[in-house]
Amino acid sequence: MPPTQMPLTSNETASNGSASNATSSGASAIEFDRVSFSLNGHPLLENLSLAVNHGETLVLLGRSGSGKTTTLKLVNGLLMPVEGEVRISGRSTANWDPIRLRRSIGYVIQDGGLFPHFTVERNIGLVPRIEGWDRPRIDARVRALLALVGLNSELASRYPSELSGGQRQRVGVARALAADPPILILDEAFSALDPITRSEMQKEFRALQQRMRKAVVFVTHDLREALLLADRIVLMESGRKVVNLPAEEFSRSEHPLVRAYREAFSAPIEMPTEKRESQ
Protein backbone atom coordinates (compact mmCIF):
# COMPACT_ATOMS: atom_id res chain seq x y z
CA MET A 1 0.00 0.00 0.00
CA PRO A 2 1.75 3.16 -1.15
CA PRO A 3 2.43 5.68 1.58
CA THR A 4 0.92 9.07 0.84
CA GLN A 5 1.69 12.70 1.40
CA MET A 6 -0.28 13.89 4.38
CA PRO A 7 0.20 16.66 6.92
CA LEU A 8 1.34 13.95 9.25
CA THR A 9 2.89 10.84 7.83
CA SER A 10 1.98 7.68 9.57
CA ASN A 11 4.79 6.03 11.37
CA GLU A 12 5.51 2.98 9.27
CA THR A 13 8.52 1.91 11.23
CA ALA A 14 7.55 -0.36 14.05
CA SER A 15 7.70 1.57 17.24
CA ASN A 16 8.06 0.00 20.64
CA GLY A 17 4.34 -0.28 20.43
CA SER A 18 2.85 -1.42 23.64
CA ALA A 19 4.34 -0.81 27.01
CA SER A 20 5.63 2.69 27.19
CA ASN A 21 3.27 5.53 27.88
CA ALA A 22 6.25 7.81 28.12
CA THR A 23 6.24 11.07 26.29
CA SER A 24 10.00 11.12 26.34
CA SER A 25 10.23 11.96 22.64
CA GLY A 26 7.92 14.85 23.42
CA ALA A 27 5.59 14.01 20.59
CA SER A 28 2.89 11.55 21.43
CA ALA A 29 0.31 11.29 18.75
CA ILE A 30 -2.46 12.10 21.21
CA GLU A 31 -2.14 13.68 24.61
CA PHE A 32 -4.77 14.63 27.17
CA ASP A 33 -3.46 17.02 29.79
CA ARG A 34 -5.81 17.32 32.77
CA VAL A 35 -8.82 17.67 30.51
CA SER A 36 -12.29 18.38 31.84
CA PHE A 37 -15.48 18.74 29.88
CA SER A 38 -19.01 19.59 30.90
CA LEU A 39 -22.21 20.30 29.03
CA ASN A 40 -24.87 22.62 30.40
CA GLY A 41 -23.30 22.38 33.81
CA HIS A 42 -23.15 18.58 33.82
CA PRO A 43 -19.59 17.32 34.13
CA LEU A 44 -18.88 14.61 31.56
CA LEU A 45 -15.13 14.35 31.98
CA GLU A 46 -12.99 15.22 34.96
CA ASN A 47 -9.30 15.78 35.01
CA LEU A 48 -8.41 13.21 32.36
CA SER A 49 -4.76 12.73 31.46
CA LEU A 50 -3.49 10.12 29.08
CA ALA A 51 -1.22 9.69 26.06
CA VAL A 52 -1.26 7.55 22.96
CA ASN A 53 1.89 7.01 20.90
CA HIS A 54 2.22 6.16 17.27
CA GLY A 55 1.80 2.46 16.83
CA GLU A 56 -0.07 2.13 20.11
CA THR A 57 -3.67 0.94 20.51
CA LEU A 58 -5.40 2.44 23.51
CA VAL A 59 -8.77 1.01 24.47
CA LEU A 60 -11.23 3.13 26.43
CA LEU A 61 -13.35 0.70 28.40
CA GLY A 62 -16.37 1.56 30.48
CA ARG A 63 -20.11 1.57 30.88
CA SER A 64 -22.37 3.82 28.89
CA GLY A 65 -22.17 7.31 30.30
CA SER A 66 -18.63 6.83 31.52
CA GLY A 67 -17.28 9.50 29.15
CA LYS A 68 -15.69 7.30 26.48
CA THR A 69 -17.42 8.87 23.50
CA THR A 70 -16.85 12.37 24.90
CA THR A 71 -13.16 11.58 25.07
CA LEU A 72 -13.14 10.51 21.43
CA LYS A 73 -14.88 13.67 20.33
CA LEU A 74 -12.27 15.73 22.11
CA VAL A 75 -9.60 14.05 19.99
CA ASN A 76 -10.94 15.18 16.63
CA GLY A 77 -12.14 18.54 17.78
CA LEU A 78 -15.89 17.86 17.66
CA LEU A 79 -15.74 19.03 21.27
CA MET A 80 -13.29 21.41 22.92
CA PRO A 81 -12.09 20.97 26.49
CA VAL A 82 -13.47 23.25 29.18
CA GLU A 83 -10.30 22.82 31.22
CA GLY A 84 -6.93 21.47 30.27
CA GLU A 85 -5.61 20.79 26.81
CA VAL A 86 -5.84 18.10 24.17
CA ARG A 87 -2.74 17.92 22.02
CA ILE A 88 -2.54 16.19 18.68
CA SER A 89 1.01 15.77 17.40
CA GLY A 90 2.13 18.20 20.06
CA ARG A 91 -0.27 20.96 19.03
CA SER A 92 -3.34 21.90 21.07
CA THR A 93 -6.64 21.20 19.34
CA ALA A 94 -7.48 24.83 19.99
CA ASN A 95 -4.68 25.73 17.59
CA TRP A 96 -5.56 23.27 14.88
CA ASP A 97 -7.79 24.20 11.95
CA PRO A 98 -10.69 21.86 12.76
CA ILE A 99 -11.05 20.74 9.15
CA ARG A 100 -7.40 19.83 8.78
CA LEU A 101 -7.46 18.12 12.16
CA ARG A 102 -10.41 15.96 11.27
CA ARG A 103 -9.07 15.02 7.89
CA SER A 104 -5.96 13.68 9.52
CA ILE A 105 -7.92 11.50 11.89
CA GLY A 106 -9.78 8.43 10.69
CA TYR A 107 -13.12 7.97 12.43
CA VAL A 108 -15.09 4.73 12.52
CA ILE A 109 -18.45 4.49 14.24
CA GLN A 110 -20.97 1.77 14.85
CA ASP A 111 -22.70 0.61 11.74
CA GLY A 112 -20.22 2.57 9.69
CA GLY A 113 -22.06 5.88 9.40
CA LEU A 114 -21.77 5.43 5.65
CA PHE A 115 -23.47 7.87 3.33
CA PRO A 116 -26.47 5.97 2.01
CA HIS A 117 -26.52 7.89 -1.23
CA PHE A 118 -22.90 7.16 -2.13
CA THR A 119 -21.60 3.92 -3.56
CA VAL A 120 -19.03 2.04 -1.59
CA GLU A 121 -16.23 3.47 -3.67
CA ARG A 122 -17.57 7.00 -3.34
CA ASN A 123 -17.85 6.56 0.39
CA ILE A 124 -14.32 5.30 0.70
CA GLY A 125 -12.89 7.89 -1.63
CA LEU A 126 -14.61 10.84 0.03
CA VAL A 127 -11.72 12.39 1.96
CA PRO A 128 -9.20 11.88 -0.87
CA ARG A 129 -11.69 13.51 -3.20
CA ILE A 130 -12.20 16.59 -1.08
CA GLU A 131 -8.46 16.73 -0.55
CA GLY A 132 -8.11 17.08 -4.27
CA TRP A 133 -6.54 13.82 -5.29
CA ASP A 134 -6.90 13.03 -8.98
CA ARG A 135 -9.22 10.30 -10.14
CA PRO A 136 -6.75 7.56 -11.01
CA ARG A 137 -5.08 7.95 -7.65
CA ILE A 138 -8.39 7.76 -5.82
CA ASP A 139 -9.51 4.73 -7.79
CA ALA A 140 -6.24 2.91 -7.09
CA ARG A 141 -6.48 3.73 -3.42
CA VAL A 142 -10.08 2.51 -3.18
CA ARG A 143 -9.19 -0.79 -4.78
CA ALA A 144 -6.23 -1.24 -2.48
CA LEU A 145 -8.33 -0.50 0.59
CA LEU A 146 -11.08 -2.89 -0.43
CA ALA A 147 -8.46 -5.60 -0.66
CA LEU A 148 -6.99 -4.52 2.65
CA VAL A 149 -10.27 -4.91 4.51
CA GLY A 150 -11.04 -8.14 2.74
CA LEU A 151 -13.87 -7.02 0.47
CA ASN A 152 -14.51 -8.17 -3.07
CA SER A 153 -13.78 -5.37 -5.54
CA GLU A 154 -17.13 -5.87 -7.25
CA LEU A 155 -18.75 -4.36 -4.15
CA ALA A 156 -17.26 -1.01 -5.11
CA SER A 157 -20.31 0.02 -7.08
CA ARG A 158 -22.87 -1.19 -4.56
CA TYR A 159 -24.75 0.97 -2.13
CA PRO A 160 -24.53 0.55 1.65
CA SER A 161 -28.11 -0.63 1.81
CA GLU A 162 -27.13 -3.61 -0.29
CA LEU A 163 -24.38 -4.75 2.09
CA SER A 164 -24.44 -6.86 5.22
CA GLY A 165 -23.55 -5.35 8.58
CA GLY A 166 -20.11 -6.84 8.51
CA GLN A 167 -19.45 -5.57 5.02
CA ARG A 168 -20.60 -2.10 5.98
CA GLN A 169 -18.29 -2.04 8.92
CA ARG A 170 -15.38 -3.02 6.74
CA VAL A 171 -16.24 -0.22 4.36
CA GLY A 172 -16.32 2.12 7.35
CA VAL A 173 -12.81 1.08 8.29
CA ALA A 174 -11.64 1.43 4.70
CA ARG A 175 -13.14 4.91 4.55
CA ALA A 176 -11.38 5.94 7.72
CA LEU A 177 -8.07 4.72 6.30
CA ALA A 178 -8.52 6.27 2.88
CA ALA A 179 -6.28 9.29 3.26
CA ASP A 180 -3.84 7.32 5.38
CA PRO A 181 -4.34 9.30 8.58
CA PRO A 182 -1.82 8.77 11.37
CA ILE A 183 -4.56 8.51 13.98
CA LEU A 184 -7.58 6.26 14.01
CA ILE A 185 -10.44 6.54 16.48
CA LEU A 186 -13.18 3.95 16.66
CA ASP A 187 -16.39 4.23 18.65
CA GLU A 188 -17.93 0.83 19.42
CA ALA A 189 -17.06 -0.01 15.85
CA PHE A 190 -17.84 -3.72 16.13
CA SER A 191 -20.56 -3.62 18.77
CA ALA A 192 -23.46 -3.96 16.37
CA LEU A 193 -22.18 -7.06 14.63
CA ASP A 194 -23.12 -10.64 15.26
CA PRO A 195 -20.62 -12.50 17.44
CA ILE A 196 -19.00 -14.47 14.65
CA THR A 197 -18.53 -11.50 12.34
CA ARG A 198 -17.43 -9.47 15.31
CA SER A 199 -14.74 -11.96 16.16
CA GLU A 200 -13.57 -11.98 12.55
CA MET A 201 -13.42 -8.20 12.45
CA GLN A 202 -11.46 -8.02 15.67
CA LYS A 203 -8.85 -10.45 14.41
CA GLU A 204 -8.55 -8.71 11.09
CA PHE A 205 -8.28 -5.32 12.74
CA ARG A 206 -5.56 -6.52 14.98
CA ALA A 207 -3.63 -7.86 12.02
CA LEU A 208 -4.12 -4.57 10.19
CA GLN A 209 -2.91 -2.51 13.12
CA GLN A 210 0.19 -4.62 13.43
CA ARG A 211 1.01 -3.79 9.87
CA MET A 212 0.08 -0.10 9.88
CA ARG A 213 1.09 0.95 13.37
CA LYS A 214 -1.21 3.91 13.64
CA ALA A 215 -2.11 5.62 16.90
CA VAL A 216 -5.45 4.05 17.68
CA VAL A 217 -8.06 4.92 20.29
CA PHE A 218 -10.74 2.26 20.45
CA VAL A 219 -13.88 2.66 22.52
CA THR A 220 -15.77 -0.39 23.70
CA HIS A 221 -17.68 -1.73 26.65
CA ASP A 222 -16.65 -5.31 25.89
CA LEU A 223 -13.77 -6.56 28.05
CA ARG A 224 -12.85 -9.40 25.76
CA GLU A 225 -12.61 -7.08 22.79
CA ALA A 226 -10.46 -4.76 24.86
CA LEU A 227 -8.09 -7.48 25.89
CA LEU A 228 -7.81 -8.70 22.32
CA LEU A 229 -7.08 -5.38 20.70
CA ALA A 230 -5.40 -3.20 23.29
CA ASP A 231 -1.86 -2.37 24.07
CA ARG A 232 -3.14 -0.29 26.96
CA ILE A 233 -6.55 -0.17 28.59
CA VAL A 234 -8.03 2.88 30.27
CA LEU A 235 -11.06 2.03 32.39
CA MET A 236 -13.46 4.93 32.81
CA GLU A 237 -16.28 5.45 35.21
CA SER A 238 -18.48 8.55 35.56
CA GLY A 239 -16.14 10.73 33.55
CA ARG A 240 -13.04 9.76 35.47
CA LYS A 241 -10.11 7.61 34.61
CA VAL A 242 -10.07 4.72 37.02
CA VAL A 243 -7.08 2.73 35.80
CA ASN A 244 -4.59 3.06 32.96
CA LEU A 245 -2.69 -0.19 32.50
CA PRO A 246 -1.06 -2.31 29.84
CA ALA A 247 -3.41 -5.05 28.71
CA GLU A 248 -1.82 -8.00 30.50
CA GLU A 249 -1.60 -6.11 33.78
CA PHE A 250 -5.21 -5.11 33.42
CA SER A 251 -6.36 -8.70 33.23
CA ARG A 252 -4.57 -9.41 36.49
CA SER A 253 -5.52 -6.23 38.33
CA GLU A 254 -7.33 -6.51 41.64
CA HIS A 255 -8.92 -3.10 41.42
CA PRO A 256 -12.56 -3.57 42.51
CA LEU A 257 -14.04 -2.10 39.34
CA VAL A 258 -11.76 -4.16 37.12
CA ARG A 259 -12.72 -7.24 39.09
CA ALA A 260 -16.39 -6.42 38.68
CA TYR A 261 -15.87 -6.16 34.95
CA ARG A 262 -14.06 -9.46 34.79
CA GLU A 263 -16.75 -11.19 36.74
CA ALA A 264 -19.48 -9.79 34.53
CA PHE A 265 -17.75 -11.19 31.50
CA SER A 266 -16.76 -14.52 32.84
CA ALA A 267 -20.02 -15.58 34.49
CA PRO A 268 -21.50 -18.71 32.87
CA ILE A 269 -24.59 -18.23 30.82
CA GLU A 270 -27.53 -18.76 33.13
CA MET A 271 -31.23 -19.14 32.56
CA PRO A 272 -33.31 -16.70 34.63
CA THR A 273 -34.98 -18.37 37.65
CA GLU A 274 -38.59 -18.08 36.49
CA LYS A 275 -37.96 -20.03 33.32
CA ARG A 276 -36.07 -22.81 35.06
CA GLU A 277 -38.86 -23.50 37.49
CA SER A 278 -41.51 -23.67 34.81
CA GLN A 279 -39.78 -26.52 33.02
Binding site: L78, Y107, I109, L114, F115, P160
Partner: protein
Protein backbone atom coordinates in the same frame (compact mmCIF):
# COMPACT_ATOMS: atom_id res chain seq x y z
CA UNK B 1 -70.05 17.54 -24.14
CA UNK B 2 -70.84 21.10 -25.00
CA UNK B 3 -67.81 22.66 -23.45
CA UNK B 4 -65.43 20.60 -25.54
CA UNK B 5 -67.00 22.20 -28.56
CA UNK B 6 -66.56 25.61 -26.97
CA UNK B 7 -62.96 24.88 -26.19
CA UNK B 8 -62.07 23.78 -29.67
CA UNK B 9 -63.87 26.78 -31.12
CA UNK B 10 -61.86 29.06 -28.86
CA UNK B 11 -58.70 27.06 -29.07
CA UNK B 12 -56.38 30.00 -29.16
CA UNK B 13 -57.84 31.65 -26.11
CA UNK B 14 -57.69 28.39 -24.18
CA UNK B 15 -54.04 27.87 -25.03
CA UNK B 16 -53.21 31.48 -24.28
CA UNK B 17 -54.87 31.44 -20.90
CA UNK B 18 -53.38 28.05 -20.03
CA UNK B 19 -49.88 29.24 -20.81
CA UNK B 20 -50.55 32.39 -18.85
CA UNK B 21 -51.71 30.28 -15.93
CA UNK B 22 -48.59 28.12 -16.05
CA UNK B 23 -46.49 31.24 -16.19
CA UNK B 24 -48.17 32.75 -13.12
CA UNK B 25 -47.91 29.60 -11.07
CA UNK B 26 -44.48 28.64 -12.35
CA UNK B 27 -42.72 31.94 -11.79
CA UNK B 28 -44.30 32.24 -8.37
CA UNK B 29 -43.12 28.77 -7.36
CA UNK B 30 -39.63 29.45 -8.66
CA UNK B 31 -39.38 32.68 -6.69
CA UNK B 32 -40.70 30.95 -3.60
CA UNK B 33 -38.17 28.16 -4.06
CA UNK B 34 -35.27 30.56 -4.52
CA UNK B 35 -36.22 32.34 -1.33
CA UNK B 36 -37.73 29.53 0.71
CA UNK B 37 -35.17 26.80 0.26
CA UNK B 38 -32.23 28.95 1.34
CA UNK B 39 -34.29 30.23 4.23
CA UNK B 40 -35.03 26.66 5.22
CA UNK B 41 -31.32 25.88 5.08
CA UNK B 42 -30.56 29.00 7.10
CA UNK B 43 -32.77 28.01 9.98
CA UNK B 44 -31.16 24.61 10.22
CA UNK B 45 -27.92 26.48 10.79
CA UNK B 46 -29.33 29.14 13.10
CA UNK B 47 -32.13 27.37 14.98
CA UNK B 48 -32.97 30.45 17.01
CA UNK B 49 -34.43 31.97 13.84
CA UNK B 50 -36.65 29.00 13.06
CA UNK B 51 -39.59 30.13 15.14
CA UNK B 52 -39.51 33.59 13.65
CA UNK B 53 -39.20 32.52 10.05
CA UNK B 54 -41.60 29.60 10.08
CA UNK B 55 -43.97 31.64 12.18
CA UNK B 56 -43.83 34.48 9.69
CA UNK B 57 -44.51 32.24 6.73
CA UNK B 58 -47.33 30.67 8.68
CA UNK B 59 -48.96 34.04 9.29
CA UNK B 60 -48.78 34.88 5.59
CA UNK B 61 -50.41 31.63 4.65
CA UNK B 62 -53.17 32.14 7.14
CA UNK B 63 -54.26 35.34 5.44
CA UNK B 64 -57.11 34.46 3.05
CA UNK B 65 -55.73 34.48 -0.47
CA UNK B 66 -58.15 37.03 -1.86
CA UNK B 67 -57.40 39.29 1.07
CA UNK B 68 -53.70 39.01 0.37
CA UNK B 69 -54.32 40.05 -3.22
CA UNK B 70 -56.36 42.94 -1.90
CA UNK B 71 -53.60 44.09 0.48
CA UNK B 72 -51.09 44.29 -2.32
CA UNK B 73 -53.21 46.28 -4.76
CA UNK B 74 -52.34 49.68 -3.27
CA UNK B 75 -48.62 48.85 -3.19
CA UNK B 76 -46.47 50.97 -5.51
CA UNK B 77 -45.06 49.20 -8.57
CA UNK B 78 -46.40 45.85 -7.46
CA UNK B 79 -50.00 46.93 -7.54
CA UNK B 80 -49.77 48.54 -10.95
CA UNK B 81 -49.68 45.30 -12.85
CA UNK B 82 -51.98 42.54 -11.77
CA UNK B 83 -49.59 39.85 -12.94
CA UNK B 84 -46.77 41.17 -10.74
CA UNK B 85 -49.14 41.32 -7.83
CA UNK B 86 -50.45 37.85 -8.42
CA UNK B 87 -46.98 36.37 -8.74
CA UNK B 88 -45.83 38.05 -5.55
CA UNK B 89 -48.91 36.92 -3.62
CA UNK B 90 -48.64 33.38 -4.92
CA UNK B 91 -44.94 33.27 -4.11
CA UNK B 92 -45.63 34.45 -0.56
CA UNK B 93 -48.23 31.74 -0.23
CA UNK B 94 -45.83 29.03 -1.32
CA UNK B 95 -43.10 30.03 1.10
CA UNK B 96 -44.35 28.03 4.04
CA UNK B 97 -44.32 24.55 2.48
CA UNK B 98 -40.88 25.19 0.99
CA UNK B 99 -39.29 26.56 4.13
CA UNK B 100 -40.87 23.97 6.34
CA UNK B 101 -40.04 21.00 4.14
CA UNK B 102 -36.47 22.11 3.59
CA UNK B 103 -36.04 22.51 7.32
CA UNK B 104 -37.68 19.19 8.16
CA UNK B 105 -35.89 17.38 5.37
CA UNK B 106 -32.46 18.47 6.48
CA UNK B 107 -33.21 17.86 10.12
CA UNK B 108 -34.56 14.46 9.21
CA UNK B 109 -31.27 13.30 7.79
CA UNK B 110 -29.77 10.58 9.97
CA UNK B 111 -27.72 12.49 12.54
CA UNK B 112 -25.14 9.71 12.58
CA UNK B 113 -24.47 10.33 8.91
CA UNK B 114 -24.13 14.06 9.45
CA UNK B 115 -21.83 13.57 12.37
CA UNK B 116 -19.74 11.09 10.43
CA UNK B 117 -19.42 13.66 7.68
CA UNK B 118 -18.42 16.39 10.07
CA UNK B 119 -15.95 14.11 11.82
CA UNK B 120 -14.37 13.27 8.52
CA UNK B 121 -13.51 16.88 8.00
CA UNK B 122 -16.21 18.00 5.56
CA UNK B 123 -16.65 21.75 5.64
CA UNK B 124 -20.13 22.99 6.41
CA UNK B 125 -20.68 23.74 2.75
CA UNK B 126 -19.53 20.31 1.64
CA UNK B 127 -21.73 18.76 4.27
CA UNK B 128 -24.71 20.74 3.04
CA UNK B 129 -24.34 20.11 -0.65
CA UNK B 130 -22.96 16.59 -0.66
CA UNK B 131 -24.76 15.04 2.25
CA UNK B 132 -27.67 16.95 3.72
CA UNK B 133 -29.32 18.31 0.60
CA UNK B 134 -29.17 15.07 -1.41
CA UNK B 135 -30.55 13.11 1.48
CA UNK B 136 -33.23 15.72 2.13
CA UNK B 137 -34.12 16.06 -1.53
CA UNK B 138 -37.14 13.79 -1.36
CA UNK B 139 -38.76 15.87 1.35
CA UNK B 140 -37.78 19.11 -0.34
CA UNK B 141 -39.34 17.98 -3.61
CA UNK B 142 -42.47 17.10 -1.64
CA UNK B 143 -42.51 20.71 -0.55
CA UNK B 144 -42.05 21.91 -4.11
CA UNK B 145 -44.87 19.66 -5.21
CA UNK B 146 -47.16 21.12 -2.60
CA UNK B 147 -46.15 24.63 -3.60
CA UNK B 148 -46.77 23.97 -7.29
CA UNK B 149 -50.21 22.49 -6.73
CA UNK B 150 -51.07 25.30 -4.33
CA UNK B 151 -50.07 28.00 -6.74
CA UNK B 152 -51.87 26.42 -9.69
CA UNK B 153 -55.00 26.41 -7.58
CA UNK B 154 -54.62 29.93 -6.25
CA UNK B 155 -53.77 31.28 -9.66
CA UNK B 156 -57.39 30.73 -10.62
CA UNK B 157 -58.32 33.36 -8.08
CA UNK B 158 -55.75 35.71 -9.54
CA UNK B 159 -58.14 36.37 -12.40
CA UNK B 160 -60.38 38.14 -9.91
CA UNK B 161 -57.83 40.91 -9.77
CA UNK B 162 -57.16 40.90 -13.44
CA UNK B 163 -54.06 38.73 -13.65
CA UNK B 164 -55.54 36.44 -16.25
CA UNK B 165 -54.98 32.74 -16.41
CA UNK B 166 -57.66 30.09 -16.56
CA UNK B 167 -59.58 31.77 -13.76
CA UNK B 168 -60.65 34.37 -16.29
CA UNK B 169 -62.84 31.80 -17.99
CA UNK B 170 -64.32 30.86 -14.66
CA UNK B 171 -65.19 34.39 -13.64
CA UNK B 172 -66.49 35.34 -17.04
CA UNK B 173 -68.52 32.18 -17.16
CA UNK B 174 -70.03 33.01 -13.80
CA UNK B 175 -71.01 36.48 -14.97
CA UNK B 176 -72.40 35.05 -18.20
CA UNK B 177 -74.08 32.22 -16.35
CA UNK B 178 -72.55 29.90 -18.92
CA UNK B 179 -71.37 26.48 -17.80
CA UNK B 180 -69.37 25.99 -20.97
CA UNK B 181 -67.16 28.92 -20.23
CA UNK B 182 -66.78 28.04 -16.58
CA UNK B 183 -65.72 24.52 -17.43
CA UNK B 184 -63.37 25.75 -20.10
CA UNK B 185 -61.43 27.31 -17.25
CA UNK B 186 -62.09 24.90 -14.44
CA UNK B 187 -61.22 21.68 -16.18
CA UNK B 188 -57.85 22.66 -17.66
CA UNK B 189 -56.90 24.18 -14.31
CA UNK B 190 -57.76 20.97 -12.52
CA UNK B 191 -55.90 18.91 -15.11
CA UNK B 192 -52.85 21.12 -14.78
CA UNK B 193 -52.81 20.65 -11.03
CA UNK B 194 -53.25 16.91 -11.31
CA UNK B 195 -50.54 16.57 -13.91
CA UNK B 196 -48.07 18.61 -11.89
CA UNK B 197 -48.90 16.67 -8.76
CA UNK B 198 -48.45 13.38 -10.56
CA UNK B 199 -45.15 14.25 -12.22
CA UNK B 200 -43.62 15.73 -9.12
CA UNK B 201 -44.90 12.79 -7.12
CA UNK B 202 -42.98 10.50 -9.43
CA UNK B 203 -39.86 12.54 -8.91
CA UNK B 204 -40.36 12.58 -5.17
CA UNK B 205 -40.80 8.87 -5.00
CA UNK B 206 -37.77 8.25 -7.13
CA UNK B 207 -35.61 10.49 -4.96
CA UNK B 208 -36.91 8.93 -1.76
CA UNK B 209 -36.46 5.34 -2.80
CA UNK B 210 -33.04 6.22 -4.04
CA UNK B 211 -31.76 7.66 -0.84
CA UNK B 212 -33.64 5.18 1.28
CA UNK B 213 -31.45 3.73 3.93
CA UNK B 214 -31.44 0.02 4.59
Amino acid sequence: MNFLHFMSANRQQVIELTLEHIQLAGIATLIAAFVGIPLGILITRIPSLSKLIIGGANVIQTIPSLALFGFLIPAPWIGERASRLAILALALYCLLPLIRNTYAGIRGVDPAVVEAGRAMGLTDRQLLFQVELPLASGVIVAGIRLAVVLSIGLATIAAAIGAGGLGEFIFRGLAMVSNQVILAGAIPAALLALAADFLLGLLERRLNSFWLKA
